[in-house]
């Protein structure tokens, strides 16, 4: 449940503030929320879900697949690789920022 909420917050923050919101929200989450097992990984997964959900909504309402084909041809990369890079990027940001936030919290406490 907490992961789903975090994903929701990350999606909303991305829409409102842009990609910078991911490390900020994750870092704040790591700082403020009580530590749990695998919470860095959970934050990473939430970020992936958040960005994937935005992409899914975009694909449902616009020619995202066509864009994917064009970009794939332009960059000489398979389409799945472009999607993978798009999802790995927030995953790395969220995990590292959450982990950092949690470490800071632990040092402080």
């Amino acid at each position: 449940m907490r992961s789903a909420l975090i994903a929701l917050v990350l999606a909303a923050a991305t829409i409102l503030l842009g990609w910078w919101a991911v490390p900020i929200v994750a870092c704040v989450g790591g700082l403020l929320l009580a530590p749990r097992k695998w919470d860095g990984a959970r934050a990473a997964l939430a970020a992936v879900i958040a960005w994937a959900a935005i992409l899914a909504w975009t694909a449902a309402t616009s020619p995202l697949v066509k864009l994917l084909h064009q970009l794939s041809s332009l960059m000489h990369l398979p389409g799945w690789a472009l999607i993978a890079v798009t999802l790995v990027f927030p995953m790395g940001l969220a995990w590292s920022a959450w982990t950092l936030g949690r470490e800071v919290r632990e040092i402080g406490s």
Binding site: G18, T61, P63, K66, L67, E103, E106
Partner: protein, 818 residues
């Protein structure tokens, strides 16, 4: 320990991701902004299509403007003043074609490096060395700010900047994301940069260079014949009373002694990038008596660079009681350039007149001159520092351009040449097009265009009373002495300078001629027997004019659909002229089996460039072999083949003279060749090459559709956004020319019937949107490729579009940032 390691790893990963997320790395844009699923590259998909309805505000807008997009995505702009219509036009063009606007303006301003980096510096240098940005500044400064010439570009800029100012990150066009840039503000002078750039495309020629290069090798007399001032086939734009083309035969003098001084000077003139006659245009009109419905008909198809998005943008501007004009504009122009209103329709072809002359100057310093000699005195040069900046404002190069009273001064191969060019002179005109859009008759249109300065065009117009007319526009210089403009004159005397310009009354033109039709296809516009004054040289052989005139003469009840069909007609007078010559030569020469086979195959050709034709390719192969065999006297010793190609008019004249020494191949000293030997050898060589490259003649590889294509490149030449290898009906010098690289062609096709209710049809390759993801990016291509036209919607009121509306836009007066 593990926790510390994990924390360290997190710091490293976070730092790395923030770094690549926030900063461009090599050719990659900043990844964070780029990959962001809401604001980044993926958002391009969400803005591919126009929203069903939208509202926006434009500073200085005087009254609300309503814009309705029809089912062809054409904006119909209903405004209350002309300047508001231009503001709205700026807004809708920016909405669909923002990248194109900026690229075209920067190309004219010599500032592409600021957008795409140092790779564009040569293009920028060329624009600045040609004096284009300086000319734009002078033209703009010469305007009265209250004139329509000034008000329309400023209003257009209001519209463009309103779009840019309110641009959300999600609206940013895809290419800007790849370039990692935000669009620059639109300055009203950009409209002048655009027109200057059009002038460069249409009115820059290296006639002097080609002629001089020939003179260097074979002397002045022969060079004059190779680049004749008058076309040997006379089929002028201004009817001359003939009912058939006239062949004016002049014997081509034999090659003379080389002229080494000419070679030195020729090498100083930069070649133009005009590569073949696909960069031309057609227009024709028929009067009441020759049209089936008794209404004047007009057709036009400018042949220009094919690009995606197209050079044209279609729009309809309405100001009740004042303006009701439909047509195409070039993004950046504040008015309709080609089109029609309720009373007239008009279109242009390029005049191909010589409006640029070179002068060999004497300067005070061979490397860094500050003065030039004129009439025995030193005169100061105007020095203009040129600073080239990169994408982040950094200086990447500096330079100085120099100007005499004639124009830019350029140094190459140790010589200093200045040039005078009409494109660099005058003021920035918008009024001509504004008045043309309001004209009610052929006469009013001609009046509106009387003082249009550049580029020189053949304007064709038809009106609702059934009148048709054609006349050249632009300024045509008068030179001293023999009046020729195809030679380099001494710069040390003011007696070399232009002495005036043609009076408009002398311009080539005609109204309602007895023949009942008018046509222009970039050929020599006036028969030299009617007016021998020099207007240009090395004219296109009038192949396309011969064909359209043949079609029009044969049809006394022309319909709009005939006009459409003519635009992609596959017939070829060039082939009609040359095929019999090849076949006769093959018969006359005792050749081998290969020659006999080549002749038999060529004889099977119906001389039409249809997609399924398997013999056109052989004719073209023979025509490609011919110059190397014929023009051996012009071989450049450095490359072992001719690097200049004389006018095809010279070939036409040599065909009448089978024993002319030009036919002899100097590379075979023990033999004297004649016309038929060279023609037969060309045909044979053509077949040998095709058999090697394409296999047997019945192979599909011989299909015309496999050999010549239209290639429509994206503005940044991104293949994924381009439409390449489109098979076309048409060949070199047919009405729908398809030659060489395939990057030129019919950029817009239009047919208008001037009946009680105007009816019009048109299309261009591409679509209204500049977004490669949009379905409006390429939606017109299939019909363009098939030679079909769309019916253009020309409603009197917005209500007439009901049922065909795809989007609406409400523009309201507002201040910046609203």
């Amino acid at each position: 320990m593990i926790a510390r390691l994990r924390a360290a790893l997190a710091v490293v990963i976070l730092g790395l991701l923030l770094w690549v997320g926030a900063r461009p790395t090599g050719p990659l844009p900043a990844l964070g902004r780029f990959l962001d699923p809401w604001h980044g590259i993926w958002a391009v998909a969400t803005t591919a299509e126009l929203p069903r309805s939208a509202k926006a505000s434009i500073p200085h807008l005087e009254h609300p403007v309503r814009v309705i997009y029809d089912d062809r995505s054409v904006p119909h702009i209903f405004a209350q003043t002309e300047t508001d219509a231009s503001r709205a036009l700026g807004y809708v063009v920016a909405r669909d074609r923002l990248l194109q606007l900026e690229l075209q303006a920067r190309a004219g301003a010599g500032r592409l490096t600021e957008m795409v980096g140092p790779s564009a510096i040569e293009a920028d240098r060329e624009a600045r060395d040609l004096g284009l940005p300086r000319a734009a500044e002078h033209k703009w400064e010469g305007l009265d700010s209250s004139s329509i010439d000034s008000r329309l570009p400023r209003a257009f800029a209001d519209g463009v900047n309103a779009w840019i100012d309110n641009l959300r990150s999600r609206d940013l066009p895809l290419e800007y994301r790849l370039l990692d840039r935000w669009p620059a503000h639109w300055d009203p002078i950009n409209s002048t940069h655009l027109f200057n750039r059009m002038g460069y495309t249409l009115a820059y020629s290296d006639l002097e260079r080609s002629r001089l290069a020939a003179q260097a090798l074979v002397g002045a007399e022969a060079a004059d014949a190779l680049f004749p001032i008058n076309s040997p086939i006379q089929e002028p734009i201004q009817p001359n009373g003939q009912h058939a083309p006239r062949l004016d035969y002049h014997r081509v003098p034999p090659p003379g002694a080389p002229d080494s001084q000419a070679l030195l000077i020729a090498s100083t003139i930069p070649p133009s990038d005009e590569s073949d006659d696909a960069l031309g245009s057609n227009n024709w009109a028929v009067g009441q008596k020759r049209s089936k419905n008794g209404n004047a008909l007009l057709a036009g198809d400018p042949h220009l660079d094919l690009s995606l998005p197209s050079i044209w943008y279609e729009a309809h501007l309405v100001v009740p009681g004042r303006l009701d004009v439909y047509g195409v504009t070039v993004p950046g122009a504040p008015m309709i350039v080609l089109g029609f209103n309720r009373d007239i329709a008009w279109t242009f072809t390029n005049t191909e007149a010589d409006v640029l002359d070179y002068y060999q100057e004497t300067v005070d310093d061979s490397l860094h001159p500050r003065r030039y000699m004129l009439d025995g005195k030193w005169h100061p040069l105007e020095l203009r520092p040129e600073i080239y900046r990169g994408r982040h404002g950094e200086v990447i190069a500096t330079d100085t351009t120099r100007y005499t009273h004639r124009g830019p001064l350029r140094r190459m191969a140790g010589h200093w040449l200045s040039f005078r060019w009409t494109v660099l002179e005058g003021i920035a005109r918008s009024e001509n097009f504004a008045r043309a859009a309001r004209a009610r008759s052929v006469g009013e249109f001609e009046d509106a265009m009387t003082d249009m300065e550049t580029p020189a065009q053949n304007m064709l117009v038809a009106d609702r009373t059934g009148s048709i007319a054609i006349r050249s526009t632009g300024r045509f210089p008068i030179r001293p002495g023999d009046g020729r403009g195809d030679v380099i004159r001494p710069g040390t005397t003011s007696e070399s300078d232009w002495t005036g310009q043609w009076p408009v009354a002398e311009y080539p033109g005609a109204r309602n001629p007895a023949q009942g039709y008018l046509a222009s296809d970039n050929q020599q516009p006036i028969d030299p027997r009617v007016n021998p004054r020099y207007l240009g040289a090395d004219w296109y052989v009038p192949w396309r004019a011969l064909r359209i005139n043949e079609l029009l003469r044969a049809d006394s009840a022309v319909t709009p659909d005939d006009m459409r069909r003519f635009q992609t007609d596959p017939g070829s007078p060039r082939a009609d002229w040359m095929v019999p010559a090849f076949l006769a030569a093959a018969k006359a020469v005792s050749g081998d089996d290969t020659l006999a086979r080549a002749a038999a195959l060529l004889a099977q050709w119906d001389r039409r460039y249809t997609r399924d034709n398997r013999r056109a390719v052989l004719f073209e192969a023979a025509m490609e072999e011919l110059p190397a065999l014929l023009w051996d006297e012009l071989d450049d010793p450095r490359v072992g083949r001719p690097t200049i190609t004389p006018s095809f008019g010279a070939v036409i004249e040599l065909l009448q003279d089978p024993d002319n020494p030009w036919w002899d191949d100097k590379r075979t000293p023990n033999r004297v060749e004649h016309r038929d030997d060279i023609l037969a050898a060309s045909l044979r060589a053509g077949l040998v090459r095709l058999l090697h490259e394409l296999g047997e003649p019945e192979n599909d590889a011989w299909l015309w559709s496999h050999n010549r294509h239209a290639n429509i490149y994206h503005l940044l030449r991104i293949p994924a956004f381009s439409a390449l290898e489109i098979p076309m009906q048409g060949g070199p010098s047919t009405l729908n020319p398809s030659s060489g690289s395939g990057v030129f062609g019919a950029s817009w096709r239009m047919v208008v019937e001037m009946g009680p209710e105007v009816r019009a049809w048109g299309t261009y390759p591409g679509g209204q949107s500049g977004n490669p993801i949009s379905r409006r990016y390429l939606d017109r291509l299939p019909r363009w490729e098939a030679g079909e036209l769309d019916s253009l919607r020309f409603p009197h009121t917005a209500d007439e579009l009901s049922g065909r509306t795809t989007a609406t836009l409400e523009l309201l007066p507002g201040s910046r940032g609203d």
